[in-house]
Amino acid sequence: MGALPADWTLPALTPFNAAWFTSGALAIQRCTQCATLQHPPEEICHTCGTMTFDTSTLAPRGTVASYTVVHYAAHRALAHAVPYTVVLVSLDEAPHLRVVGNLAGNDVHIGMALVPYWDEHAADDGTTILLPQWRAAG
């Protein structure tokens, strides 16, 4: 229980989100002009309008901002995965940035300290995706 199937949906990569999904680090989109951090990544900086970006790697620590334990499988491929936990994680070095992930296990509460790990997936177009996931710290 709690783990999604290995052949479940993967993110479609774009030049804007590829670092997040392939780097194996908390690589957050950063504006090259004003250094604003954005997540989810956008095609234009919401602060200054610049359209070029690099990334900033944040320390691998987060805190549960919210969560839901999903009991009803909204797709038949998930029928054997329920119940699974989806967490919304506030990144400790930039708490205004929130990222979605799964938590290993269903023991969860708001404020819980987490650390990331990365699940390696081979996509059908040959790319390797390192999907950020989370587990309890310590």
Binding site: L4, L10, T14, F21, P40, S66, T68, H71, Y72, V86
Partner: protein
Amino acid sequence: MRGAAVVAGVGESTYYDRGAAPETEFQLACIAIRNAGADAGLVLADVDGFVAYMERNEPVRLSAALGVGDVNFTAQTFGGGGNGAGAAVTIADAAISAGYAECIVVFRSLAQGQFGRYGQAAGSRRAGGNAAFTAPYGMLTPAQTTAMQTMRYMHDHGVSQDSLAEISLTSYAHAQRNPRAIRYGTPLTPELYHASRWIAEPFHLYDCCPENDGAAAIVVTSAERARDLAKPPVAIVAGAHGVEHRDGVGAFGEANFPTAHHRHVGRTLWQRAGVTPDDVQVAQFYENFTGPVLMAIAEMGFCEPSGLDAFVAGGNLRWPDGRLPINTSGGNIGEAYIHGFGNVVEAVRQVRGESTCQVADVELSLSVSGPGYAPGSAVLFGRV
């Protein structure tokens, strides 16, 4: 702000369980529009515009099928779903007030048996856009995304599971008086609510609206044109449709998480109408899920978030004795899920005195559309 437009007619099809309608979705739309026209005392040749939201049945086809005359105006809102119901009425109000059309049908038709369900996710090997950040984690449906918002909101503001239950219990209670309602004759008890299975915590089965087949429509025209029609006109006192800066940004990136995305709508609606929530006698709050309804009650200004438990307690939302009866037809949960357009029809009926849970002396009647999605919308009806 009171524009020149009024509601002259309301109508609906029979409401059915999901997949049970003998008619197609297009036929359901035609039935609801014909009924709204007949209620107004209009011939459909007098209609010259159509406004909807997330609608599959196009005005060109409808106008040909229904014997409508020359069409002068069509429009549909942006945004994901039921959040557009009030906005659609507002667009019709704007078009009538500006003189672009004389008689507009605003409608929504839904046959989930024919076209598939919203609560089921489509399978796809690769997810793009904002879904790239959610679908790989099994976060797929509105129940799950609004559960994420609601869980944090309950934590921050001390909102109890019993308050979630009260939203659903209120809709079921009101549906027991409405023969159109799908849950007519099927009451809900607190015990049944709490014993029902989890869908996505904190939502039980009964926190979630059903999915249904049916259609609902209203006729919007000028106050002048409405004078010789069959029913007393109902004023569109004010509408609001929008979103504050960075609210509704995808994958929970909004600056003011958790939110139902209706704070801006609340502020602008009361400002435009020149009244306050205390002036409203009855309200329809689109129930997709119970949590977003509670959030919308607070964001529309009826109480502080920390006061929600007290605001909904003691039958305060229930007809006939509650201070603010809501969802008096049974709403999306109890009457039928027609993407919130049944809530709009009911709000008009409350001004006319035609509800099956009729509130006394209604001057102002509010309809708030799909909370949890942006841009949000709401419309305030009143006596002419």
